[in-house]
Symmetry: D2
Subunit: 118 residues, 4 copies
């Protein structure tokens, strides 16, 4: 079974066993996702961009960042599952769209012409 | 190849071809992730929780929500790749931890005793 | 002296006394603001909209919400000060714009036609 | 009348005239605040910290940043008003607390020992 579907299934059981499904509306899960991203942001807010590339070398900060990434991924997977959105297929569509919009030749090197990546 | 590693690889090439790698520091990507989550939040902010469960039935709003979920997933995958974090393994560790902490019997039905899910 | 200018002045001194000014770039302060808003979101994520209107009646949750609002206001004031933006004047301009755009007669009662307020 | 109370009063009328009050629950307004902060984050995400200090010199980017700051301030003021929180008093309490916690002598220059400012 595919990785993300497997994770979504596990989270579905986790919520069902605890009767937490009624809390898991798209609105609430989006807030939970937003709150977790806020915790991730807080880990990096005072670092320079250069320091941020080294953050995983600090065992304590690195463990916190990994933990926040996990929380974000978990809520994102749960939210997409509740909404019936296939994350991989949605991402694939977005990347194809951006490949057309931001050509390799026309957008090389510039963050002015295009928001890098998306 | 696994789904998420494949997506990370594709995003790596996308950035490399456009010479956008220097923008993709953990600090910047975390901000980009946060900005995209903000757009997702904006889609659901005036809906009731009940209305939010029906959001995908509206073709226009549904397409926007799907598109924002894709953006969040793309930046999360790119950020985790840059940091060397395996999202699936990190999520697995977090779920095990929560299975221990929030027992099925002791935490059923309550959002007071425990933040549901995470 | 006006309230917000007075607060901005106090925060300026607070940072200067501790030699924290070099951390207070617009980029970093925006992340700090975002992180604090994330904490506020987390306080309300599992409440229904109706429960959220009663949140200040719970002494503990109410104190946390008040504390997060203070943090958000502090970072917003500091960020605007660093950028040279007069918050009151900027808000006044935005409200005038919205008064023109969202007429009382045409936009009454609807969150479809217009995002309420802004 | 004080500046912020005056702004809160104006926003109250703005919502009442359009019958938008029922959308303005603390939960919804917190999401709206979060969405606006996301837009602000997006303006600065690809800038270096140094570039971010110059953002107001670019007329277009500067106008967008000013507009986002206004939106954040408006929603924060409206949210605090709905919750019955006096922003200035709450901020004053927080600053006093931090003056005690982060002494000038002990916390000078370090973002390790203390999160700068708050």
């Amino acid at each position: 079974m595919e990785e993300i579907k497997q994770l979504a299934e596990r989270l579905r059981e986790f919520a069902a066993e605890r009767d937490w499904e009624r809390f898991h509306t798209p609105k609430n899960l989006t807030m939970a996702l937003s709150g977790e991203v806020g915790e991730l942001v807080a880990e990096l807010q005072w670092l320079t961009p250069e320091e941020s590339t080294e953050v995983m070398k600090d065992p304590e900060a690195g463990a916190r960042v990994r933990s926040e990434l996990a929380d974000v991924f978990i809520y994102l997977t749960r939210l997409a599952d509740i909404l019936g959105v296939d994350l991989l297929s949605a991402a694939d569509g977005k990347i194809r769209e951006h490949e057309r919009r931001y050509g390799v030749e026309t957008h090389r090197g510039s963050a002015r012409k295009a928001p890098p990546l998306f």
